[in-house]
Symmetry: C2
Subunit: 289 residues, 2 copies
Amino acid sequence: MIRRLAVIGVGLIGGSLARALREAGEVEEIVGCGRSRDNLEKAVELGVIDRYRHAVGEAVEGADMIFVGVPLGAMEDVFGAMKGRLAEDAIITDGGSAKGSVVKDAIEAFGELPRRFVPGHPIAGTEKNGVEASFSTLYRNRRVILTPLEKTDLDALACVRAMWEACGAEVTEMPVEHHDEVLAATSHLPHMLAFGLVDALSRMKENDEIFRYAAGGFRDFTRIASSNPVMWRDICIANAPALSKMLSAFADEMKDLADTIAAGNGEHLLEIFERAKAARDRYIDGLEE
Amino acid sequence: MIRRLAVIGVGLIGGSLARALREAGEVEEIVGCGRSRDNLEKAVELGVIDRYRHAVGEAVEGADMIFVGVPLGAMEDVFGAMKGRLAEDAIITDGGSAKGSVVKDAIEAFGELPRRFVPGHPIAGTEKNGVEASFSTLYRNRRVILTPLEKTDLDALACVRAMWEACGAEVTEMPVEHHDEVLAATSHLPHMLAFGLVDALSRMKENDEIFRYAAGGFRDFTRIASSNPVMWRDICIANAPALSKMLSAFADEMKDLADTIAAGNGEHLLEIFERAKAARDRYIDGLEE
């Protein structure tokens, strides 16, 4: 049971965590923190938080659990603002989509990695933002990855795991670097391709006409290009090493594919498409199990 | 009014055309043609066609309108099989997703381009195949592109346009080369990226784990990688010049993007993502109008 939860950044991710814990009866008091008074007032009105503070240092006072749900570019400042204001046994965790950069930011801000800081990443979300988009079942049957370090306090790790499990999530652990590689492959790279494709088409001459002839598949394929540009700039910079390497390697493969097409090598094309279709169909079967 | 329509290839595309024309009261008799007896029997049972022939030469006899709805790789043989068997005023049109190759196949098969051949491409479809997947409203409010050539008979062109309009489609005309470029950009390139991405991930070590952490966006983004591999091999080969050029140029852009990420150039990233989001949002607004 969490006595006082401080949610720094009461948006879709932080708001949904607060709602889920409240619904599960796993938290006594929830203090919100953020820059927009309107959003925080709305959060109180909706019952997502009990009260709020604009200053991070005030919001974390007396909290035994602190969840940081802010964009990656704001992490270091938030950590810096809570330094020296934390209760002795306070546990800190976060929801950032890249973990190496968050760990680095925490070390910068605190001087060393706090033993009761547990880096985390809930693999969940929608294309919407703000506390009004939050809902208590966002994490049900979704995965949450925790990336504890060698010195991470095991009791803190167990508490963060229990918190997410109370929200209905399936919690797994992996090293920071591995998390960043896996997410580069499954999330960050697809976003780059979708943003890149739509941008490339929009720069073509007669681009209005081009979009006019796009069929249904294009709509699905490019949905993620409607994501928040600032959030994705932050993710790219935070996960630059893994992402730039993977994107560069993928570009090489697309060059090879272009050569295969130009050479009319149907056998090789069929091999690629069949392997991809089989993997995609297995993936969907796995989701439906 | 079409007196006798011959549908060569009674699948999703050909079957839906037959159903739509029947429903609109625009056709007297429909003769199907294909290799699978089961599929053709099913088509008769469903009332999609009146009767069928396995030989193309027999199916087209006495038909005033012939629609060829077979994979691009089968076009030339189908054209060859109807040579010398056509009624004098017969109009031929097709539904192939690349037009340069179909025109080339027609010239190969007939010796010269028949004046009453009108190359066409309905921008519609689902991920399903076969006559059982066909439905009469597939083309309603969808676009059909016709790519007449200099010598194309204007009366034949008008008849094919009227046929698609009777199905509820919006018909536009453009040159063959332009069609192939537009489709390379909006359809063929996205398919290559989706097939390529899923294939690349499936070849990574620990690929089971990678797919396990894929979130909702990945499912949408990769949906088109579950498309028919043989059909896509044929499309790649048929539209090789436009597609390989565009894929190669896109790979160069992704190389540049990887460099931008590695260099941590947030301003440039934001510019790309904002332009893409704006174009994608405009595209969706356009669909909803």
